[in-house]
């Protein structure tokens, strides 16, 4: 049960909105954080919390791509395939991952570590090609970078190649200024 484990956090979320239903997406995120995807039990529990019917929760979940209704791999690799990234070679990036992991978009590795998805624009067109893995962005991908990211994730569960606060081009010191 979510309420047992996250009671305080749920109360805080509910306090932000004058109308309970607004807390629906934040609570679904909580459920997804817990299980990796949104389970039927979680949907029912959230429905009860917000005084909604389970179908009202379900119809909302199915509208949004970030919410998963099925289990995904431990690392969900989402490669942007929209035009701006495609101009910079995103199809090639998908090809590299296909070769290295033996999975096509929509598939997961048998060990349950990686799921590959081709997704639409993630607002990183200036640093294309790019992908999102779980919460993190990885930009200006090259074959070496993809290799290192996959290796890092396998061994340590994270990679220092992930992006920090976005800015491109990077600031440069101007002559004469400090």
């Amino acid at each position: 049960m979510l309420t047992d484990k996250y009671g305080k956090e749920i109360d805080e979320i509910l306090s932000r909105y004058p109308v309970k239903r607004s807390a629906l997406i934040p609570l679904l995120y909580l459920a997804q954080r817990e299980q990796g995807y949104v389970t039927e039990a979680a949907m029912k529990e959230i429905a009860q919390l917000l005084k909604l019917t389970p179908p009202q929760v379900y119809e909302t979940v199915t509208f949004y791509t970030v919410l998963n209704l099925k289990p995904v791999g431990k690392f969900h690799m989402q490669v942007c395939k929209s035009l701006m990234c495609a101009l910079a070679g995103s199809d090639t990036v998908i090809g590299w991952i296909k070769t290295k992991l033996g999975i096509a978009p929509g598939e997961s590795t048998p060990d349950g570590l990686f799921t590959l998805s081709a997704v639409e624009c993630l607002a990183s067109c200036g640093t294309a090609p790019m992908m999102q893995i779980n919460d993190d962005y990885y930009e200006q991908l090259t074959e070496q970078k993809v290799e290192k990211i996959l290796g890092d994730l396998r061994t340590t569960g994270t990679s220092d190649l992930k992006s920090g606060p976005y800015m491109w081009p990077l600031p440069v010191a101007v002559k004469g200024e400090k």
Binding site: R16, L28, Y29, T65, S82, M84, L87, V172
Partner: protein, 437 residues
């Protein structure tokens, strides 16, 4: 180096600037809020913003002060401000930078807007994928609350404003303001029929203003340095101020460049973004995000302001400029964007829901060299029957790539179809008849 004065990107362009409250204050941050709250009447703030000529930076370009003016004056109940941080337009990545690198600039803008419209609650609707951005904003809100800029009786003036971050969950349509409100209410993000407009019936049916991140980030500058000063920047009288243009595609230095409105595409692409990435010349560019019709190299001297781009047959939109080099297939490019729109159509209106799927299938067939000449007519017909026939502007947006590429590069469609016909080894007239049976 920028030869224009930077406003929005000024702080973050200093190497080492991290966007903390202390750093923001050290550069004059929150001075506009201190000078305005309790000292200038809210109506005068709205008047100043109207006078500055500031127009929405999200895509539609509606005058911000005018939008605020639509709120009912005598309404006593709650009002809301929603900061539209759903940045999902392909080709656009400026709001992400503004939020992640200088979050307090955005927050100060939100607080000023709340004061002007009398809102005590503001929600920042940030797209679900931007986890880092939402964390940075939440941290900044915490800092601002501790410093007395957010919460009850801000700076002792009796003005109350609370700000929350609300993460979306990956739907392009939620950048449309009424879809954003639906989503914020915990529903599917389906745009509402307008009127009534959010100004009278917005979030929870209460008077609401929805403003883009970049729009709000301009407010501290306008209120510090004056409406006249702002109105003189750029391309007055209708396109004032600077814009952060996002350059992507086949250029040397893609990225965000802040320039006054009214510079030409040529200057943006060749001076700021360093020109083309190889010796291949420019073939096409999209001037304002995926929803804007494609333009050709003959439009490079068009000025980057709302009117000039509209006169050239496209739109300035969200400021996402995507450049394509010679050798790029325009049919392929239009198909890529069409696939995006097909994926993101919310499904509310039949012309858009059914039409986008039909357009994608027809385009895929042409691209796979299995098209026929009649397909070109089908494409034009479909486009005409989608644009203007939907609840929101998505319908107009989704036909832009196909209509504009058909207009300027029709021969590329024709040659793909000719190849199909040649490979089929049958008379062109019979191709359609056979396939339809």
């Amino acid at each position: 180096m920028p030869k224009h004065e930077l406003l929005l990107l000024k702080n973050m362009s200093q190497p080492g600037y991290t966007g903390s409250l202390a750093e923001y204050e050290a550069t004059g941050g929150y001075q506009a809020l201190r000078a305005t709250l309790g000292k200038t009447a809210p109506a005068d703030v709205t008047a100043a913003v109207r006078k500055s000529g500031l127009r929405g930076r999200g895509g539609a370009g509606f005058p911000t002060g005018v939008k605020w003016g639509f709120l009912p004056k005598d309404y006593q109940g709650p009002r809301y401000l929603c900061c539209n941080a759903d940045e999902s337009e392909p080709g656009t990545f400026k709001d992400r930078q503004l939020m992640e690198r200088d979050p307090h600039q955005v927050l100060e803008g939100i607080l000023l807007a709340c004061y002007a419209i009398g809102a005590e609650s503001a929600y920042i609707y940030i797209r679900g994928e931007m986890v880092l951005g939402s964390k940075i904003l939440e941290r900044a809100i915490g800092e601002a609350r501790a410093a007395g800029y957010i919460g009850k009786s801000i700076l002792g003036t009796g003005t109350n404003v609370d700000v929350w971050v609300h993460r979306g969950a990956g739907a392009y349509i939620c950048g449309e303001e009424t879809a954003l409100l639906e989503s914020l209410e915990g529903k599917r993000g389906l745009p509402r029929i307008k009127p009534p407009f959010p100004a009278t019936h917005g979030l929870y049916n209460k008077p609401t203003v929805v403003n883009n991140v970049e729009t709000l980030a301009n407010l501290p500058h306008i209120l510090t340095r004056g409406a006249e000063w702002f109105a003189a920047i750029g391309s007055p009288p209708k396109s004032t101020g600077t814009r952060v243009f996002c350059v992507s595609g086949h250029v040397q230095r893609p990225g965000n460049y802040e320039v006054p409105m009214g510079v030409t595409f040529r200057e943006l692409v060749y001076e700021h973004a360093g020109g083309m990435r190889s010796d291949k010349p420019i073939k096409a560019f999209i001037p304002g995000g995926a929803s804007a019709p494609f333009l050709t190299p003959s439009h490079l001297d068009v000025k980057l302001d709302f009117e000039s781009v509209a006169a050239a047959g496209s739109m300035l939109g969200s400021g996402g400029v995507t450049v394509m080099e010679e050798g790029t297939s325009m049919v392929w490019a239009a198909l890529r964007l069409m696939e995006f729109f097909y994926h993101e159509s919310c499904g509310k209106c039949s012309p858009c829901r059914e039409g986008s799927s039909w357009l994608v299938q027809t385009m895929r067939r042409i691209m796979a060299k299995r098209g026929r000449m009649q397909d070109l007519e089908t494409l034009s017909d479909l486009c005409k029957n989608i644009a203007g026939r939907t609840v929101c502007a998505f319908g107009d947006a989704e036909v832009a790539p196909i209509q504009s590429t058909l207009k300027y590069w029709r021969e590329e469609y024709v040659s793909l179809i000719r190849e199909a016909e040649a490979a089929d080894l049958i008379m062109p007239e019979t191709v359609g008849a056979r396939r339809e049976s």
